[in-house]
């Protein structure tokens, strides 16, 4: 399954830009078009994934990695296997966004939002492919380090197990943040039973108390 990016969902980009329904003139639309095109031309999406069976204590078989926290255990309670995924838009897209900030902040904020929408799109396409490949088995949503009570430091273990830096060129900063920033890591459970939609909901989110979207009565999983 190759990383693919066919389009950048406009609605998602606008959501990241906190668009609240004001006037969206021709100039803004043209700017959005232009930025999306630029990003699609520049991004070199890549991903690496691997399927592991789960041992009784939650360790991924053949590795020394046991995902941390209660939330992930609950999340995978129905699953006998898990897919580890890391995906990125690549360093060129990162440089494009960074460099825009020194030239035109309007472009920079759009590219930044569109970049977030784009990497999610890469993951969505992958999950669609994965569901087909693993059918008739069922997949959970994506659960990432930093969700719920899973610490960001799980990122390091996940990076070692998937050999992420060598395989797709994503690195970790000293504080375990991914660079390029437009990158995603996730655990996806595999089960014999249909899985409810969970990771996108506010219940499992560590930011639920402080979330700006929630304060406005929305969620980051809805438009």
């Amino acid at each position: 399954m190759e990383a693919r990016l066919d389009r950048i969902p406009r609605g998602e980009t606008l959501r990241y830009l906190r668009y609240r329904g004001g006037e969206l003139g021709g100039e803004s639309l043209a700017e959005l078009d232009r930025c999306e095109t630029l990003l699609l031309q520049t991004a070199r999406p890549r991903l690496v994934w691997r399927l592991f069976s789960l041992e009784a204590d939650g360790t991924l078989a053949g590795t020394d990695y046991r995902p941390a926290g209660e939330d992930i255990r609950a999340f995978l309670s129905d699953c006998d296997s898990v897919v580890l995924l890391a995906a990125t838009l690549g360093a060129e897209a990162e440089a494009l966004i960074r460099r825009a900030a020194g030239r035109d902040m309007a472009e920079a904020v759009i590219l930044d939002a569109a970049g977030s929408a784009a990497v999610e799109r890469v993951c969505d396409i992958f999950c669609g492919d994965l569901a087909e490949t693993l059918a008739p088995r069922f997949l959970t949503d994506r659960f990432s380090p930093g969700y719920g009570d899973m610490p960001l430091s799980d990122q390091r273990a996940l990076f070692r197990v998937l050999d992420v830096s060598r395989r797709i060129g994503v690195t970790l900063s000293e504080s375990a943040l991914m660079i390029p920033q437009k990158s995603v890591t996730a655990l996806i459970g595999v089960s014999d039973r249909p899985q409810p939609k969970r990771a996108g909901g506010c219940e499992s989110c560590g930011m639920r108390e402080d979330c700006a979207w929630r304060k406005e009565g929305k969620s980051c999983g809805s438009n």
């Binding site: 803004s28 959005l32 691997r50 960074r98 690195t171 970790l172 900063s173 660079i179 402080d210 700006a212």
Partner: protein
């Protein structure tokens, strides 16, 4: 190294260790200490299979990856070398290579690893490995040229062993970081490695075309150490058989690679098969003409035609530029770089020399900042060897040094730096006796510079000669001498030429006529690298036309593209009939119109009045509309961009008059330590600058101490801190505590996705700014 011999390397180590029971995710280097026998046995099997170079099991033995494993770097490296040495015992001519892999972190500007820290990480490994008895250093699997440079310099400065360097590339012909084969070859050849090539990445079949590309850029021995094809994503297993691998690898010698082995997924069986397939094979003789060029951190500029060097990063005669340098306003310099890149420059000259300033430090900062914003190669322009070295050390890629001249002490001071850092160099045709008036005298100096460069081991193709332009209104006969000298340097010495062109027309009216005409004649005489102002379209038009006439621009493609949009370009948007107001221009984000209208307003009022009565009220209206949700973030930023064009007009006017900067006060902005998310802080900066505040932007990942020191030193009364992650709010709290503890009197505002009013109060901030508009409101309250 015998270039007519094939050297067979070893195969994968990780694969073998996993087969021997190493769990995925555990640091393999720990086994150098825990299970040295297992490591040695694997290496011995490679020696038995025919490997002449055994890599130590130290790929991840650096302080980033080994943190928390229970052993320090020296222990892991020493034990690693010992394992390989033991494995090599009894095998004739088998050498031990200290294997150095990436840190797993990314270097600046995209990442948070500084050159100095990267250098120190690699220095530690090199020192331990050389002391333990390695025969050579192999740096491999790099995809970041900046990290590779740090490793090569650390190796060359801390031991005398040969250095081999290989990088990871994708089938697209670039590394993950976007580094091209040309940029890699120019940089590493310049740094003086002993061999270079590719490892890991892909299978041998996919990498062979890259080997063919590489040989066009370097005459050094080439290394190829590919994977066993591509891994199955679901299982992580590699797919091709030893026989297939060997058959493909055996094609490498005819493509030019002579140092061959295997990487991930390959085993002693693969190496044995390769040894058999390669027995009796000799590398094909390489008779390629190697391409000359320079490069930035990813892309190369081949010097095989007219290449434009942009001259605008230079304070000479520019008051606004001088002011920016004195204020340490690196962003202003970066903006000049971006502007010239957009205008079509191929290389940027960087001169930051101004009496009374710390030129080496300014050069270092300017080089780093420019490389974060543009990918063009830079020309480090200074007469101070310390500034040149500071620039070269910070520079990622292969730079040009501007300049040396015929004076012996200058040659002896600067040429060794060019050699060490692998840069090209510009030689000016002058010496202690000045500029020869006769063209022959200039050619003689050029020859002397060439000989000196060659004696320092600099390659001929890296010597660029500037025959010097004299002002035609003062010395009319000299224009012809310059052109004559230029032609002779090009034809008789076979060197590429550089020439600062604009100087020719100084003191004459309608300068552009003279400049363009001289430029055209110089190009015809053989000028390769005109140093010009690329923002002058007549100059760039002349170069575009010359490229057509000389045949360099095949089928006039570039020329046609350059002029294709000229008629289609829309006229500046103005409201039908009625004239646009400055406020509307800002609201609609019209940059050029805002600048023009500001210029016009300054005919009727002074600068401060224009700021207070026109620019700020316009921004307030934009801010209100943003708060109400009538416009959204990109529109707010567009308006801010337009307003800053207005401010730039005002700043330039004041600088030209020699007046003090208009500033409503200083504000520090920083994304706190551990956080790399810059965008929110940058948005706030743009808005605050627009309101007339001087923003000291400390960037991202800023330690608390830096914030405190800057606040105290610059006596800043308002500090803005940004953090995006829950985890980094902790370092925001630390920064606030450190500020309070210092006793410095200031207000602190904080912002970021995870913050709230309550949370901000809890960590001791004075204000919480939910967005940039609120940030500006707080600034008004605190600073007025």
């Amino acid at each position: 190294m015998d270039p007519t011999e094939i050297i067979l390397l070893d195969g994968g180590m990780g694969t073998m260790l996993q087969a021997a029971g190493l769990p995925l995710g555990e640091l393999p280097e720990v086994w150098n200490v825990m299970q040295p026998q297992t490591v040695s046995t694997i290496q011995r099997r490679y020696a038995e299979a025919g490997s002449k170079v055994l890599y130590t099991n130290t790929f991840g033995a650096n302080r980033c990856k080994a943190a928390g494993c229970g052993y320090d770097v020296e222990e892991l490296v020493t034990a690693g070398v010992r394992c390989a040495r033991r494995a090599a015992e009894g095998f004739d001519g088998v050498r031990v290579a200290l294997d150095i892999g990436p840190t797993g972190r990314l270097t600046e500007p995209l990442g948070d690893l500084s050159f100095e820290e990267a250098y120190d990480i690699f220095r530690e490994i090199v020192t331990a490995g050389a002391a333990a008895g390695a025969d050579l250093i192999v740096i491999e699997t790099m995809s970041d040229l900046g990290e590779m440079r740090a490793a090569v310099l650390a190796a060359k400065e801390n031991c005398d062993l040969p250095v081999w360097a290989t990088m990871t590339f994708e089938a697209s012909g670039r590394s993950f970081l976007g580094v091209t084969v040309g940029a890699m070859a120019l940089t590493l050849t310049g740094l003086g490695v002993d061999a270079l090539g590719f490892n890991c990445s892909l299978g041998p079949k996919e990498l062979l075309p890259l080997v063919e590309e590489l040989r066009r850029w370097t005459d050094l021995p080439l290394i190829l150490k590919p994977n066993a094809g591509l891994p199955d994503p679901a299982t992580g297993e590699y797919r091709i058989t030893p026989a297939e691998f060997a058959a493909e690898l055996a094609k490498a010698p005819e493509k030019g690679a002579s140092i061959l082995g295997g990487c991930c997924g390959t085993t002693p069986v693969f190496i044995r098969a390769a040894a058999k397939a390669l027995s009796g094979v000799r590398p094909a003789a390489r008779r390629d003409t190697v391409r000359g060029g320079v490069c930035g951190s990813t892309g190369a500029v081949e010097l095989n035609g007219v290449r434009v060097i942009g001259e605008r990063i230079n304070p000479t005669g520019k008051k606004r530029f001088q002011q920016a340098l004195r204020e340490g306003d690196i962003d202003y310099i970066v903006a000049r770089g971006v502007e010239q890149q957009d205008a079509g420059a191929d290389i940027l000259d960087v001169n930051v020399g101004l009496p009374g300033l710390d030129e080496p430090e300014l050069m270092r900062r300017a080089v780093k900042a420019l490389q974060g914003a543009v990918d063009l190669p830079l020309q480090i322009d200074s007469s101070d060897p310390r500034a040149i070295e500071a620039g070269l050390r910070a520079y990622n890629g292969k730079a040009v040094v501007n300049s040396v001249n015929g004076k012996k002490e200058v040659l002896d001071a600067i040429l060794p730096l060019c050699k060490k850092y692998g840069s090209a160099v510009v030689g000016l045709c002058m010496d202690e006796n000045g500029i020869p008036q006769d063209w022959r005298g200039r050619v003689a100096i050029a020859k002397r510079i060439l000989d000196a460069a060659l004696s320092y081991g600099i390659r001929k193709e890296d010597v660029l000669i500037d025959c010097l332009t004299l002002t035609v209104s003062a010395q009319q006969g000299q224009a012809a001498e310059t052109l004559r000298a230029l032609r002779a340097v090009k034809e008789e010495l076979g060197l590429r030429t550089v020439l600062g062109v604009s100087n020719i027309s100084f003191g004459l009216p309608a300068r552009e006529n003279i400049t363009v005409s001289f430029l055209t004649q110089a190009l015809y005489a053989g000028l390769d690298l005109p140093i010009v102002n690329p923002n002058q379209s007549a100059v760039m038009d002349a170069i575009a036309a010359f490229r057509v006439l000389s045949g360099e621009d095949k089928d006039s493609e570039d020329y046609i593209r350059r002029f294709a949009n000229v008629t289609a370009e829309a006229a500046p948007a103005v409201k039908d009939g009625a004239e646009l107001s400055l406020g509307e221009a800002i609201l609609r984000g019209l940059t050029a119109e805002t600048a023009a209208l500001t210029e016009k307003a300054l005919g009727k009022m002074d600068e401060l009045t224009a700021v207070d009565r026109l620019l700020i009220p316009a921004l307030d209206r934009v801010g209100e509309r943003y708060e109400k949700g009538e416009i959204f973030l990109p529109q707010l930023m567009k308006a801010a961009g337009a307003a800053s064009a207005g401010f730039e007009v005002i700043k330039t006017r004041i600088a030209n008059r020699g007046g003090a900067t208009v500033s409503k006060g200083k504000i520090i902005l920083a994304t706190v330590r551990g956080d790399i998310h810059d965008i929110g802080k940058n948005i706030v900066r743009v808005v605050l600058e627009n309101y007339g505040y001087t923003v000291i932007d400390l960037g991202h990942d800023v330690p608390p101490q830096t914030v405190v020191e800057t606040a105290v030193r610059e006596n800043v009364k308002l500090i803005g801190l940004s953090a995006l992650m829950t985890t980094t709010v902790t370092s925001m709290a630390e920064t606030i505590t450190a500020l309070r503890k210092s006793g410095h009197d200031c207000k602190i505002m904080v912002g970021g996705a995870v913050l709230t009013e309550d949370y901000a109060a809890e960590i001791g901030a004075d204000y919480y700014a939910k967005d940039a508009k609120q940030g500006a409101d707080i600034a008004k309250k605190v600073l007025g």
